[in-house]
Every structure is written in C-alpha cells, then in structure tokens.
C-alpha cells in the first residue's frame, strides 16, 4: 500500500465486495497485511442491503437471528461427538466433533453456548469449507 488514501480506498472496496457477496466475514492476508472484516448481521439472516452509511443502525431482532449455523472450516469427513443429538445443551469451548482430512484431524470446538437444534450433515459425510454442520439455538440456554 502506497499511502493511507489508497489503503482506505482499498478497504472500502473490500467492504463493498463483502456486501455484494453477502459475506458474513472476510479475512484477507498478505505478507504485510492481515485484515478481518465482519458484517453486523448474523449469517443466516437475510442480508438487508444497508448503504455504507447506515452501519450505525441498531441490530434488529430479526426472527432467527439467535440461531447460529456452525460451519466447517475444513475439507474432510465429518465425525460428530458421541453424546450429541438434537436437544443436547452445548457449552462454548466444547468439542462437538471432528473433520478428518488427509493425515490430520481437525477438532470442531463450539464457539457459542446453546442447544443443538439440528444436525445438517450426518456422521461420515464429506464436508467442505463453509458448509453448515450444526444449527445451534443460542436463546434456549
């Protein structure tokens, strides 16, 4: 980046890309720069098209916004933790399963507390990056 103005211009473009693609979160990394942008709306909620200036609007209580989709960060075979089934109470930090990749197993650690509503994929299914695995309801805990 050559100067601050260009950097801002560039971040603005990233933000625009994010809005246009309805992205919840965007991570960008080069040798010198590491940047994470998060949009305010929860992932499964339909993204209202807010103009850039309305980011100060209060978060609306959209129906379903308390439902969290727990997604895979890896490509591999999904293995669900043994004691997990719909209705199970999940605590943040709990291991909810693994994704088995070539020569490595990735632990799936819950990033919120709540109640498991639904398993989107079944034990043994192949999964990809960003694929929803579990639906967790935050409000019922």
């Amino acid at each position: 980046m050559e100067n601050v103005e260009q950097e801002l211009d560039w971040v603005e473009r990233l933000a625009q890309t994010m809005t246009e693609n309805k992205l919840h979160k965007l991570e960008f990394e080069t040798e010198n720069v590491s940047l994470t942008l998060r949009s305010k709306q929860a992932a499964p909620a339909p993204p209202p098209p807010p103009p850039a200036a309305s980011s100060s609007a209060p978060e609306e209580d959209v129906e379903g916004s308390d439902v969290i989709l727990f997604c895979s960060k890896d490509v591999g075979i999904f293995r669900v933790a043994e004691d997990l089934s719909p209705g199970t109470v999940i605590t943040e930090g709990q291991k909810v399963g693994t994704v088995e990749a070539v020569s490595v197993e990735h632990d799936l650690i819950a990033d919120c507390s709540g109640v498991l509503v639904e398993m989107v994929v079944q034990d043994g299914d192949p999964v990809e990056y960003g694929q929803p695995l579990l639906v967790i309801s935050e409000s019922e805990n």
């Binding site: 473009r13 890309t17 246009e20 992205l23 490509v75 990749a101 490595v104 990809e128 990056y129 960003g130």
Partner: protein, 454 residues
C-alpha cells in the same frame, strides 16, 4: 487415461482445463474459494469443493485442503494450471506420496528450473547459449569485476527470481553497487533467498519463447515460437505466433536449443523455453524455462492446430506424444491480447466491480478464453486477467485487422479494462512494422504506461 481430474486453479485457465477434460471424456472436480462459488469453471465442473476463504493462501494455495478434496472426490490426477501451485516442487512430491498424478514435470525439473542460477549452470553444461554473465551467484565485487571486464549495462538478477522481482539494470559501477544491495534485499523478502548473479543487459532484445512438449518415453518436440516482446514491466501484453523476425532456419535453430534445454532436465509435459533474441546478431540467449502451461499457449494452438492441454493430460497418463517433430506444421498467424481488469489511464491500477454488460465477439478466426458472464464480480484477491482474445488470420495483416474489429465489437462494461490500450497499440506504426523489443511499451508510452503514481 484418467477417470477424474481435479483442477487446482480458478478463472479462465480452470475453465480451459475443464473443456479439455470434457472433450476427452474425463470427469472434473473444481476447487474454489468461497467467493468464487458462482464462477463459470465451478459451475461447469462435474463436482466442486470449497476449500477455503478468499485469500489464496487459505484456498488456492492450501495444499492440505486441496489434497483432501482430491481424496474425497476420488480424483486420480491434479492439473495445476499456471500460477498458484503449478511450479511448487514440494506440491508435486506430496501429490506423488498421496498416489495422485501431477499433470506436469517432475519435482526435480521444477526445482532445477526454479533456481535461475542453477538452471543457467545446467544450460551452459548442455551447450544451451546463455547471456554472458557471472558463472555462479556473485557478490558485489565479483559483479563489478565482471562489469569492468565485459562492459555495462548489466542486468542484476535474483537466483530464486521470477516475475521481475529482484531485477535491476545497472549502467555503471557505482549504480551497480547501489542496486546490487537493493536487488538482494528485494529477493530476500520476496523469495527468502538473497543470492544474486549478473548478466549483460540487451536493451533492444526481443522476447522469443519456444513451446516444448515431452512424454515419458523420451520424445521431446517443439511447437515453434511465440514473440512476446510487447511487455510492460516484464508482464506480457500481446503475444504472437510466429515471430516476424525469425527465418525458417533460425526457427529450427531456436527449436533445437529449446528441445536440448528440455532434455537437460528430463522434462515431461508442456513447457516453455524463454530466450532473449538479438536481432542484429541473430543470437538466442536462454532466459528461463517455465515448467507449466502458459497464459499465451492459445496462439501456438491456433497456428499449429494442436490442443496443448489435451496433450498435457495424455502424456501425464503415460501416452506417447500424438505427433512427431516432422508432423508439426505452422500455418497462418495468431495474436493474443490479454484483457486485464486494470485502468490503463491510471498507471494500470487494478479495477474491481461487477460486470453489467458483456459481449465477446465471434466470427471467423476468433477465439476468446474467459470465465466471465454478465454479473460476474471482479474481486481484488486474484490476478487481474479477465479474458484472452485471440485472432487468427492467414497472415499477420489479416490477424491484426481481425483483432481490431474484435476489440471494437467487444463490450465489457462496469469495470475498466486494458482493451482500450490494446486497441491503441494495434494502430501504433512501430508495432505494425514489428519494430518492438522488451522495453518498447515503457519507452513509447512513457508517462501513460511507465509508472504508477505515489
């Protein structure tokens, strides 16, 4: 032949490989980042796997995720395209460990040609002409001694080089001392390797490269040359096949040298041997060998009537080359313009946005390799190449006339592209006369094309 091939790339080259696979009856797996989900290659493939978020480090360069995708989809080979993992020797080795065929040369060939100083030494040993320079990597004293003995200007080059990084031209000894350190530092930060060597610098040389193709049975052929002298900062803008300046005898000579270069590293698959060509002395000087399919391969395909990507797949599967040297016939003339998402009026700054209207012309002798559709998003994460427009004609004049009408008909709205710059070049008298060299664009379009502001 393979049953299923995974394409570890994106954009136009991913689609190009998928097309070749389809015509050969091979199933395809596209891998993609989460922002590329709706792109044409991903939609065109038989299967698709999202391997990571937008940044290439986490998706298109993410070896564990890509290998897992290959395993889950039961692919038997990986085609790397160009860029990304195409010239990573470690990736080739990992593929082999996993029982996957890498569509390309061996890890050893990639490693040897990737180290420019080692490649130079190997070429000298095998009788391939190189630009006079230091025999090996040099320190600043050795470089200065070479300059004082053989004369300036000198080109300072990084041993681990590529993409113009760590390259400087020094016109005298004091400039050499200053730039040597700069180049070493730049090479250190770009490649983690500060080794430097120097060569004589030819200001008015042409960039002429030969396409080679080799199978696993010891057969190596060349498919003539491409003239890529129209460049900007070592990035090619226009490529032509054949070159205007090579006689049939010179073509044979260059082709033979290229075949020797490929044999020197036990090459397999499609490769390109790049030369600087001095028109005055009619001499070739080895620059480097690119161990992959190249962006500009279509001009060779049009003139030689061969599908290089299909040929790559066939030889990777163990088949013999489908033709011998004597079967290679070059007919007509082909020109390629690289249409990039850049603003030519603003120092070629990247342009991003959404394409509203898109029209690629057709008609006789026209080929467009692209991955765009109306509504396509041009993102800031990746290479700016949008489309390769190739015009073929019975001779150069017909190809040029065709390219002019193609660029006039083409519509890409919503973002800025380099099409206007190409269109102007096609009327440039020096270009039309073929009087071009590797610094032509910088000297001709000083101010417009030479430098970014800031």
């Amino acid at each position: 032949m393979f049953k299923k091939v995974l394409i570890a790339n994106r954009g136009e080259i991913a689609l190009r490989v998928i097309r070749a696979c389809k015509e050969l009856g091979i199933e395809t797996v596209a891998i993609h980042s989460d922002v590329d989900r709706e792109t044409l290659p991903v939609l065109a493939a038989d299967e698709r796997v999202c391997v990571g978020p937008a940044p290439s480090m986490k998706s298109y360069l993410n070896i564990p995720q890509i290998l897992t995708a290959a395993q889950l989809t039961e692919a038997d080979a990986i085609h790397p395209g160009y860029g990304f993992l195409a010239e990573r020797a470690d990736f080739v080795e990992i593929c082999e460990e996993q029982g996957l065929v890498f569509v390309g040369p061996s890890a050893e060939a990639i490693r040897l040609m990737g180290d420019k100083a080692e490649a130079r030494k190997t070429m000298i040993k095998n009788g391939v002409p190189v630009m006079p320079g230091t025999d090996d990597v040099a320190d600043v004293e050795a470089a200065r001694a070479f300059g004082e003995e053989h004369g300036f200007p000198l080109m300072i080059k990084a041993a681990a080089g590529g993409g113009g990084k760590g390259m400087r031209v020094a016109h005298d000894a004091s400039e050499l001392e200053r730039l040597f350190e700069q180049a070493a530092n730049e090479a250190k930060s770009a490649f983690g390797d500060s080794r430097i060597y120097v060569e004589k610098f030819l200001a008015r040389a042409r960039h002429i490269e030969f396409q080679v193709m080799a199978d696993q049975h010891g057969n190596v052929i060349h498919l003539g040359e491409r003239d890529c002298s129209v460049q900007r900062r070592n990035q090619k803008l226009i490529e032509e096949c054949p070159s205007m300046v090579l006689s049939e005898a010179k073509r044979k000579e260059g082709g033979k040298i290229a075949v020797n270069a490929a044999k020197a590293c036990d090459y397999e698959g499609a490769g390109t041997v790049e030369f600087l060509y001095d028109e005055e002395t009619e001499k070739f000087y080895f620059l480097e060998m690119n161990t992959r399919i190249q962006v500009e391969h279509p001009v060779t395909e049009e003139v030689c009537g061969i599908d290089l990507v299909k040929e790559q797949l066939r030889v990777a599967a163990g088949e013999k080359l489908s033709l011998k040297q004597k079967d290679v016939v070059m007919r007509g003339h082909a020109i390629e313009c690289r249409i990039n998402a850049e603003k030519p009026d603003e120092g070629f700054r990247p342009s991003v946005g959404t394409i509203d209207t898109l029209h690629f012309p057709g008609g006789p002798g026209v080929r467009v390799d692209s991955f765009l559709t109306s509504g396509s998003k041009v993102l800031p994460f990746y290479d700016s190449l949008l489309a390769k427009v190739i015009a073929y004609g019975a001779d150069r004049d017909e190809a040029l006339a065709r390219m002019r009408r193609v660029l006039d008909e083409m519509i890409v709205s919503g973002i800025s592209t380099t099409a206007s710059f190409h269109r102007a070049l096609l009327d440039n008298p020096s270009f039309l006369r073929g009087e071009v060299h590797t610094t032509f664009v910088e000297t001709e379009y000083r101010g417009e094309a030479s430098d970014d502001k800031g």
